[in-house]
Symmetry: C2
Subunit: 249 residues, 2 copies
DNA sequence: CCAATAGTTTGATCTCGATCAAGGTAAGAA
DNA sequence: TTCTTACCTTGATCGAGATCAAACTATTGG
């Protein structure tokens, strides 16, 4: 049987597309999947707004359409570690679980394409292709988490910063459908504090290492949020390894 | 419909049991699942033996029956970080993926209950309950990985050691069906070097912190591998948080 | 028995990133 | 405009954990 892609360029734009993508093709899509279209709704969160509180019952799940959200855990004494970064097309929520063990917070204005959980789960149960797709997405998240463990446990502050820049640059390029190469330009969607939470560092160290990369000519800062990378390979080199960060599936 | 547990005490003993557990019950098990019994075979690996090389094609998957295996990633310059610990009943292998991005190594003598991958995957495709169970197990692994990210990014060396001891103690107790409490006694299945790889520390720091916990009376060492915990709550307290480590699902 | 090997512990010193502290910058409100 | 607030940068100092070095323990094999 011939398989044609169900969604092309804009498969990142909303949750049901992100979920259907790869799960099925235009020729063999189970009719149940079309129901996703009817079920979805959109919701916007402001920067800093908490989308899900750790331990709280979650009644909704979906995926990020635009903006950036963070997953983070906090120790009783306030130490915080980000455990995931949700960029457009990433899935939010845990199918089959009642609560999340971490906070989900909007880093900037975030639009979510969402489904009512029980409805969505009923559809999943009835649609093996959807179940398979969710497993596939969860394996990608697991790879990303393990890649991050290597970074947290063994990389230097400078390598951590470079690695984060590489990931953001790659995702940014993928989102805009532009090739990755020299002369790359992108916007940091995170504050220095959020970066420090992600990298297991302090704000000051993040700021210092970014300044150091700037001084070394690896990056050029137009302002604190706008990065220009004249030589992408040089940045990759600073990251300590050449893996794809587990974020490309 | 009434649900009865399919497997009781010994559900940890082999892969098809670990996988069937929770997926189904004695009354509603799909007939396909019985095929797991016919497909499984056992294989033993010596301590230090590599079960799967990073990037290598994997033709087999299954779960740990006895012993301990580790998942680890290595940077080009040799720095190593363990990204997962496989204790009895844990699943090995990535359904639907051709290769693994990390090495799987036997920490001591390990017995695996294994399935031939294509056969297993065909069965999975035909058995939605199995697919769901795999998703559930993968979500547990993801939770554990994220818990570990918090440890790697934000905990002190002492808290890291205490956290690892708590996890091993809990798994050990679960395996032997004994309650967790004071007067706990267990064997460390890892060398100091493996612990340092897991915790993002050096061997020396691991050794020193274990000595410090011993001096503080939190643990009593019968020899370097045999630990006695007089007061479990005191150990928990040293771990910095009271979560279950994501290892209990 | 001794030698060799692998793992563990302890000490001395160094260094990277944390901490403490002070300014700088940009955007919005009064 | 000036005040406020949030965010970012830079400097000085400190300390937890790394590194370097040596000794100790247990096991295996000749």
């Amino acid at each position: 049987m011939k398989h044609a892609p169900l969604i092309a360029q804009d498969h990142l734009r909303c949750a049901d597309c992100a979920i259907r993508h790869k799960a099925v093709c235009a020729y063999c899509e189970p009719p149940e999947l079309a129901k996703l279209d009817a079920m979805k709704s959109y919701r916007t969160f402001q920067a800093g707004e908490t989308i899900v509180w750790a331990g709280e019952e979650v009644e909704v799940l979906g995926s990020v359409v635009s903006g950036v959200a963070t997953l983070s855990r906090t120790l009783p004494d306030g130490r915080r570690q980000m455990v995931g970064l949700l960029l457009p097309s990433d899935f939010v929520g845990r199918p089959g679980r009642r609560t999340a063990p971490y906070d989900v917070v909007a880093a900037n204005e975030v639009m979510i394409c969402q489904f009512i959980k029980p409805k969505f789960e009923r559809l999943v149960s009835a649609t093996p292709a959807l179940e398979r797709r969710l497993l596939d997405m969860t394996l990608d998240e697991l790879d990303a988490a393990r890649e991050w463990m290597l970074l947290l446990g063994r990389k230097t502050a400078r390598e951590k910063i470079a690695s984060l820049l590489v990931i953001i640059a790659r995702r940014d390029a993928a989102l805009n459908n532009t090739p990755i190469g020299d002369g790359l330009r992108f916007t940091l969607p995170l504050t220095r504090e959020a970066m420090s939470d992600y990298l297991g560092l302090t704000i000051e160290t993040v700021s210092r290492q970014i300044s150091a990369l700037k001084k070394a000519g690896i990056i050029i800062l137009e302002d604190s949020r706008h990065v220009h990378v004249p030589d992408f390979v040089a940045l990759l080199d600073e990251a300590g390894d050449d893996s794809d960060g587990g974020f490309i599936s």
